[in-house]
């Protein structure tokens, strides 16, 4: 290489690095939020919600309007995203250091990234169990956002994953909710013979398969092993339970779903509709979906939506009482100038009245506030789901948010490959192990 070319390359590389910046932003958790300081009821509160689209969108709009009535000098900037789009939106805002005052979070690795990055206000003095505000929430809901004894998010609602079924169809065919995985497979045969799609399933987005896998892993892999395997630093991913769970999943896809190997081409909403329209006997769904699936206009409302926990195999070696699901909450930006006002707004959002409203149709999001879900305001599947979540031995966080993104992505690709039949469980586990060791 000529000297001038070398010099030019060096100058270009130097300039590029200088332009990109190369700085240590620090990664300590934020200092505790000073909630003793009274909020100034003026200015604009920006909020990033996961309530975009029908029927959830009006909830935060109404909350903002209600708060504005109390404090007319406060205005709101609502950024409402959907379950799919909020992931990208949050990361774009994070990278551009433009996170709003209040923003949505899942529990697990997702929330920990913000906590470790110093972007989540330490709410311990205000919301820890035993405090006035904290006493309004179930302790398990608060603990979902706890790290090193500190609390970093306001849990808004609880969630869990259940198999929803059409009560009329089950009754007609003499079926009862299965209690073991083997019984579930038998129910599929009966439903199929009667001309129904046993389990509606759509995996176009990849994550529906992860939900099945995570619940089955909880049943088949001992809890401590599973916990260690979520963290690339301690992961071994060698337990035979993984292979067994993946084999169960593949068997379920092939024998119970109408789409089988084609499921990667089907939207999860299409599957949801199949249950709502009475074409399918079952559909694996979150509590948050119950009121949407059995909305007033759907035939399922008339037929009746029943739920049961995805049953474990009779010889399962893991925690068969665990339920997949975790609360979802809102973080107050540690760098927000309106942190005290933001905390005050979240207190308003989790007041008894607003919590009850959130738990009722059309929203059907079971509030994390104690006593908010009741027969007066919530549908029976939501109440039953929440009761089961509260009684569960352990709440297993979603596979795509409990572990680091590289590993979650490897599981996602693996789930798709299992459905299409292009990889064996052994191959999938090997690729996840490789992603986990690369992420160490």
């Amino acid at each position: 290489m000529r000297k001038s070319t070398q010099l030019m390359t060096a100058i270009l590389a130097g300039a590029a690095l200088a332009l990109a910046g190369c700085a240590d932003g620090g990664s300590q958790t934020a200092a505790p939020l000073d909630l003793a300081k009274a909020p100034e009821y003026s200015g604009t509160l920006s909020i990033l919600t996961k309530f975009g689209g029908d029927p959830l969108e009006p909830y935060f709009e109404d909350l903002a309007a209600g708060y504005k009535k109390l404090h007319p000098d406060v205005s709101f900037e609502l950024i409402q995203e959907t379950d799919q789009s909020i992931k990208d939106k949050t990361k774009t805002l994070t990278a551009s250091q433009a996170l709003p005052d209040i923003y949505f979070t899942w529990a697990g690795n997702w929330a920990n990234n913000f906590i470790d990055g110093g972007l989540a206000a330490d709410l311990t003095p205000a919301i820890a169990p035993g405090t006035e505000w904290g006493n309004n929430f179930g302790e398990s809901a608060l603990k979902a956002f706890e790290k090193d004894g500190k609390y970093f998010a306001v849990p808004l609602y609880n969630n869990g994953k259940f198999m929803g079924y059409n009560q009329r169809i089950f009754k007609e065919l003499g079926l009862t909710p299965p209690t073991t995985f083997e019984e579930l497979m038998s129910s599929c045969s009966v439903l199929k013979a009667a001309g129904y799609e046993p389990i509606a399933f759509g995996n176009k987005d990849g994550w529906p398969a992860l939900h099945y896998l995570q619940q089955l892993f909880a049943y088949e892999v001992p809890a401590q092993v599973l916990e260690a395997d979520f963290n690339p630093g301690t992961a071994k991913l060698e337990d035979a339970g993984y292979l067994k769970a993946m084999k169960q999943f593949t068997a379920l896809v092939n024998a119970c779903t109408g789409s089988g190997k084609d499921s990667n081409g089907v939207l999860y909403t299409t599957a949801q509709q199949a249950l709502a329209q009475g074409k399918a006997g079952m559909y694996y769904q979150e509590i948050l979906e119950f009121d949407t699936t059995s909305s007033d206009k759907s035939p399922l409302r008339k037929d009746g939506l029943g739920i049961f926990k995805l049953p474990a195999a009779s010889d399962a070696k893991g925690d068969t009482k665990a339920i997949e699901g975790s609360p979802e909450g809102y973080i107050i930006n540690a760098k927000s100038r309106n942190a005290a006002l933001a905390a005050d707004f979240m207190k308003f959002a989790t007041s008894t009245l607003n919590a009850a409203k959130l738990s009722a149709p059309p929203y059907g999001q079971p509030s994390a506030v104690k006593g908010a879900v009741s027969e007066q305001n919530s549908t029976s599947p939501v109440i039953e789901g929440i009761n089961q979540v509260n009684e569960a031995s352990n709440a297993i966080i979603w596979l795509d948010s409990v572990t680091v993104p590289e590993v979650a992505d490897a599981w996602l690709a693996g789930g798709e490959a299992l459905i299409a039949g292009t990889q064996s469980p052994e191959q999938v586990l090997a690729s996840v192990r490789s992603a986990s060791s690369a992420a160490r």
Partner: protein, 323 residues
């Protein structure tokens, strides 16, 4: 009229002899000052280009040498690590292969296919029908890629889509499948949609190029008893080669920047089988939080498209048509 294989050289003004001696100092000073004054007019556009095109490019190059934690803001210099990772990443190579496949198929359909179609349309005697057909072929190009992607997602849907229903109807039920849900068909499903969407635009551009060819050439050929195929290969094809070159550049560059249709139809799945460089870049950054690696992929995309564009531009210089 001449059909030249080389670009016409600019005429040398008679007033300035090539080998004239050193001109007087005064006119040189004036000319130099005029040149600088003229540059002032170029400055706004050049500044905007620098700020919005070249500066981000340089920044991206810098990012590609960093490990960037977007949460803490910590940026660590890792040198060529991201590039080494890229060369060892099978999904990167899969994506590159898909982009190449995309480019190859697009050249066949959107350049050669569109040219043949344009020649057929322009060969029609009825001006009315020519207009109607041009409009019909152009309509898909007026639809946004996102909308077209969604539309085709539902066409390909394994259980409710009309493609499988049509195949069942004509007795080909044995080949029905989840076109976007299978690893071996997903990328082809997307490419097919893209051809449908881009075909009409290319046809229209070729139609314009064909209209510029003097009709005397075709008339003379007809008098000499030349048939339609020979007319196409001996008159139409050589005389639209400038447009063909341009379409090749646009199509190939477009193929390496494809993003929307893949995101809408498969998001790169199943099992990363339909990833292209654009979606893998996006996934690396926004899903896997590896923004440094995403920047390295972006640099690779830039280099690939730059090299292809330079090569094609050099090639097209020798394909200029003049008459």
């Amino acid at each position: 009229m001449t059909i030249s294989n080389t670009a016409r050289r600019p005429a040398v003004p008679h007033s300035v002899p090539k080998s004239a001696g050193r001109p007087a100092q005064e006119p040189t000073k004036k000319a130099s000052s005029r040149r600088w004054r003229n540059l002032v007019w170029v400055l706004p556009a050049a500044s905007l280009l620098c700020i919005f095109a070249y500066l981000p490019l340089m920044q991206n190059l810098g990012f590609s040498m960093l490990k960037w934690d977007i949460y803490s803001g910590r940026q660590t210099f890792v040198g060529a690590d991201n590039y080494i990772k890229m060369f060892n990443d099978p999904i990167f190579w899969r994506s590159l292969l898909n982009n190449t496949l995309y480019a190859g198929i697009s050249i066949v359909f959107q350049v050669f296919g569109a040219l043949i179609l344009a020649a057929m349309v322009e060969g029609l005697r009825s001006e009315r029908w020519r207009g109607i057909l041009r409009a019909i072929y152009f309509v898909p190009s007026a639809i946004s890629l996102t909308v077209a992607g969604l539309l085709f997602y539902f066409i390909y849907e394994p259980r409710m889509g009309i493609l499988n229903a049509a195949l069942e109807f004509v007795g080909l039920g044995n080949i029905t499948q989840a076109w976007l849900g299978q690893e071996n068909t997903a990328i082809f499903g997307i490419v097919a949609m893209s051809q449908w969407q881009g075909f009409g635009y290319c046809t229209l551009l070729f139609a314009v190029a064909l209209q510029r060819i003097p009709s005397e050439l075709y008339e003379a050929a007809s008098i000499d008893g030349v048939g339609p195929f020979r007319r196409f290969f001996s008159i139409s094809l050589p005389l639209v080669r400038e447009m063909s070159s341009l379409m090749m550049i646009v199509t190939v560059s477009g193929a390496f920047q494809v993003f929307n249709e893949v995101m809408v139809m498969t998001t790169g799945g199943p099992n990363n089988s339909s990833q292209v460089l654009g979606t893998w870049l996006y996934r690396s950054g926004f899903v896997r939080n590896d923004f440094g690696y995403a920047a390295a992929i972006a640099t690779a995309v830039f280099i690939i498209t730059l090299v292809l564009a330079v090569l094609q531009l050099r090639l097209s210089k020798h394909r200029r048509v003049q008459w």
